[in-house]
Amino acid sequence: KKLNAQLEPRVTLLDALRDQFELTGAKRVCDRGTCGACTVLLDGKAVYSCSVLAIDAQSAQIITVEGLGAAGKLHPVQQAFVDNDAQQCGFCTPGFVVAMKALLDRHPNPTPEQIKHGLGGNFCRCGTYAGMRAAMAQAAKTTKGA
């Protein structure tokens, strides 16, 4: 889908997505590139959308958490989060889902070290990492080709 908006140069990609296009899956938490709650895919690469200016994302392909999966069907990563209860309040969850999807795109069979780096840029306050660990294992099996 093509999105158009006229914005001040200082508007971040995160704020543009949330306030202009009602794409609020990516969250604003730390707002300075630490917590990962705003993670989206920019031309296939996971980025902190709070630290990307909207003008720098012009004509790029942006995939947000809303864009994963098909209509009425969860992406295998999303399904793995649901099945393994890898969320509580859920505010950090979209960022983790996108980070895990990006990780599996790069490393379909990730090593513990790759997982550590792939998910190390996100924080959760409720403490959902136990469920996430199980979700990671499931998603690594079910994501192939998705």
Partner: protein, 798 residues
């Protein structure tokens, strides 16, 4: 059907279709797709964005405020002064002026254009050093003092003694009495309060400290004399912040002159309207509060807060909806803090480990109000005690309830002191706890709590491999990486808040439920649906549950682990009554009495002859045009479906690199009792989460205050560190279920498992490196400092 007295009882183990199963949370798909809308995600038509000018000083008087330049800035619609000239500000980051503009950048530009002159006053942010030469506080108790005592769950006789000794500075009016009753405050405390002499509060004392009266139990002097071994130590933990992922905030709008509509990030959907009404001089009935999802609260989101009120005020001025969500820095500076606690402790025991005596001098801060003493000695009721607490009144910012208020602090100090005693006795600390297990049963306990702890310690030991892994303190290996084990036990009350539930069964077979409760991410929605589905013989998909709005039947705020007790009992009652009305409607058609029928697997059938049945849909069709509509309240405070008081045990296994001081979590085990588990999956998630939060508070978290400026040095998520995906080691959760637990009904889990991890990890570190790292967080520098001093970290040396 059984008689009237137990028709609501929880179904027996063999008769449960949903309760106790592992069910994925019903709002999971919405949360993983970004469809779940939080307050922060909500856009209202014509909504403006608010930015706030905050005080940069820890203590100051406002001399003047000039908003004229800000008001002329492009995009600005309204400016509202929150605290005007003459106001005294007691912490940095406090709200002074709010600007509403068409977008956030315009609001931010205008906020920067507000000119404020301050008279800077001296500040005090030191809660770490032990207060010296402080006289005991004998002034009358204020409302705040009383609330602090109650939140700290101080035993009633001690509260009464304090009320009688010091008097009170306020008259307890009927509203307050009603509120106390609603919160299960004992009659004896309420009558003491009504009888207490009302004295005038003295002018603000100049001291930064309030020293409470010494409390003595038994004969501590004689007991210390009798003790063959005495262990002494200092322990403590700093102020930490809640750091909710979704910051505090709201969207306010005025659909009519005196009608307020707020989207609020809150733990208290049904209970917060009164606060708005009072502050804005409108009727509570005209305050509509809505929230679909909340991005974390942990005890910090019960009120409308100053920012909630001024969001409504500036919205009125602007004539448009206004959203103010706190930025990250103020979220950490002003919107959440757990009080610190430090203590010098002396413990006396016999050589066989029998604990005889406890003495503690403790101190800590809950901000400008001082704050209360953590419960000590925690869980283990050593028979002879002397305790004294001094509260430091600081400009750190106000404290808020933080999961299990005061328990983690009391647990850390107590379990550390007992662990040091075990080391001195050359005893395994699990054996020391088992030796004194009888001391863990509270006097009012009827549930065999000591047995619970006993069983939990044995199960935990097994899951941890404790016997095989444990070694005496300091014998954690010959290389630079030492391993160690630690243990702690904890408790919490629970019970349930008042809760009302409405159930409608419609002739087309659909079921709708409404409750003014909220799901903090604990799985409340799912648990309510499971109980209703179990009762009605349906699937959870067949029931439409609406929560998160104060126009639904009210439930209490989600705090103190009271939610599951509250909503489970009201749901069960309403669902049983609705079901029984339906059974009565169809009894004739099935040629049976209503009490001979049951609702199972989508059918209504005769219990003794299950083939005589009709489908749920057919049964509902017999309602004609009249749906069944039931609204039921639970019987709190005397609700027999629920109870209070749980025990848990935590064991930690760590590795510590003595060259770098880095602590690595290897494994942690939590064995937890919470009565009847409704949903095993989300219950376990909550315990895992509590353990992970415990790892963060033990190893990383501290609200670091700058003594020079009185401001927080790390109000961001780079330097206020949470635990990450790879920081947690292996985690094992074991829920105590079955006989002895199930019949007590559901008891909340939000608090108990958050208590023990800090103490267990701190003890594991001591076991690994051979000495105590006395103060949290156990950062590498503190480990190295402890190792370079002779007898563990000295207070002055850290």
């Amino acid at each position: 059907m059984a008689d009237e007295t137990n028709k609501y009882s929880w179904p027996a183990a063999g008769e449960r279709s949903w309760i106790g199963k592992r069910i994925s949370r019903v709002d999971g798909p919405a949360k993983v797709t970004g469809a779940a809308k939080y307050t922060y995600d909500t856009h209202r038509p014509g909504m403006l964005y608010g930015r706030v000018v905050r005080c940069p000083h820890a203590h100051a008087k406002i001399v003047s405020i000039d908003t004229s330049a800000a008001e002329k800035m492009p995009g600005v619609v309204a400016v509202h002064v929150v605290q005007g000239p003459g106001s005294e500000i007691h912490w940095a980051g406090d709200d002074l002026v709010v600007v509403a503009a068409v977008d956030e950048n315009a609001a931010g530009d205008a906020a920067r254009a507000v000119k404020i002159e301050y008279e800077v006053l001296p500040h005090f942010v030191d809660d770490f050093h032990q207060p010296q030469n402080v006289a005991e506080d004998t002034s009358p108790l204020s409302r705040n003092d009383l609330v602090t005592l109650l939140i700290n769950q101080m035993p009633a006789p001690q509260i009464i003694e304090r009320i009688q000794k010091r008097g009170v500075s306020f008259k307890a009016d009927q509203g307050m009495i009603d509120q106390l009753k609603q919160n299960n405050v004992p009659e004896s405390v309420i009558s003491a309060l009504q009888a207490a002499p009302v004295k005038e509060a003295p002018a603000q004392a100049s001291s930064h400290y309030r020293k409470e009266a010494e409390l003595t139990t038994g004969d501590p002097d004689a007991a210390f004399k009798e003790s063959e071994v005495v262990s002494e130590g200092e322990y403590g933990c700093p102020v930490i912040t809640h750091c909710c992922m979704e910051s505090h905030g709201s969207i306010a709008e005025w659909p009519a002159e005196d009608q307020l509509f707020v989207h609020l990030s809150t733990q208290n959907v049904s209970g917060v309207s009164g606060e708005y009404a009072q502050a804005l001089k409108i009727k509570a009935a005209d305050v509509h509060v809505h929230q679909d999802h909340i991005g974390g609260g942990f005890g910090s989101k019960f009120g409308a807060d100053r920012w909630g009120i001024y969001t409504a005020q500036v919205s009125k001025k602007a004539g448009k909806p206004v959203r103010v969500m706190l930025e990250r820095a103020p979220e950490l500076e002003v919107a959440g803090a757990r009080p610190s606690a430090f203590a010098k402790v002396k413990v006396g025991a016999k050589k066989d480990g029998t604990l005889l005596a406890w003495q503690s001098e403790s101190w800590g801060t809950g901000g400008p109000g001082g704050g209360g003493a953590p419960p000590m000695p925690y869980v283990v009721r050593i028979p002879n005690q002397r305790r004294q607490h001094t509260a430091a009144l600081t400009n750190i910012g106000p404290a808020r309830a933080w999961r299990a208020p005061n328990h983690p602090q009391g647990c850390l100090i107590t379990m550390s002191a007992l662990d040091d005693m075990a080391a001195k006795l050359n005893m395994d600390p699990v054996d020391l706890l088992l030796k004194n297990i009888a001391l863990t049963a509270p006097p009012e306990d009827k549930t065999g709590r000591a047995n619970t702890y006993h069983d939990e310690l044995l199960i935990g030991s097994d899951l941890m491999g404790w016997k095989k892994k444990w070694h005496p303190r300091g014998q954690g290996g010959s290389g630079p990486v030492k391993s160690g084990l630690g243990v702690a036990i904890h408790t919490w009350g629970g019970r349930g808040h008042q809760s009302t539930c409405s159930v409608a069964i419609r002739p087309d077979g659909s079921v709708e439920m409404k409750m003014g409760t909220q799901d903090l991410g604990t799985g409340t929605r799912t648990a309510i649906l499971m109980i209703a589905a179990d009762t009605l013989g349906l699937t959870i998909e067949q029931i439409n549950l609406k929560i998160g709005d104060n126009q639904y039947p009210p439930s209490g705020g989600s705090g103190g682990s009271t939610t599951i007790g509250g909503v489970s009992s009201s749901t069960r009652r309403a669902a049983v009554d609705a079901r029984d009305q339906l059974l009565a409607k169809v009894a004739d058609a099935l040629k049976a009495k209503p009490e001979e029928l049951e609702a199972v697997k989508g059918t209504i059938r005769v219990k003794s002859a299950p083939t005589r049945s009709m489908s749920w849909k057919d049964a509902c069709a017999r309602l004609g045009t009249q749906p069944i509509e039931v609204t039921d309240k639970n019987l709190v405070p005397n609700e027999p479906l629920i109870s209070s008081g749980v025990g848990g045990a935590v064991m930690a296994d760590v590795s510590v690199d003595v060259e770098t001081g880095i602590v690595k979590m290897n494994k942690m085990v939590c064995v937890q009792d919470c009565g009847l588990v409704i949903n095993l999956k989300t219950a376990e998630s909550q315990v895992y989460g509590a353990m992970i939060m415990g790892i963060a508070t033990t190893l990383y978290e501290e609200k670091v205050m700058d003594p020079t400026t009185g401001t927080m040095l790390n109000p961001n998520m780079d330097f206020y560190r949470l635990a990450g995906y790879s920081d947690i080691g292996e985690l094992v959760v074991h829920m105590m279920t079955g006989k002895g637990y199930d019949e007590r009904g559901p008891i909340g889990l939000g608090e108990p498992p958050t208590v023990g991890p800090m103490a267990a990890i701190a003890n594991a570190v001591a076991n690994a490196i051979g000495m105590r790292v006395p103060f949290m967080p156990i950062t590498p520098d503190r480990v190295v400092a402890a190792l370079s001093s002779n007898q563990g970290g000295s207070h002055a040396g850290i």
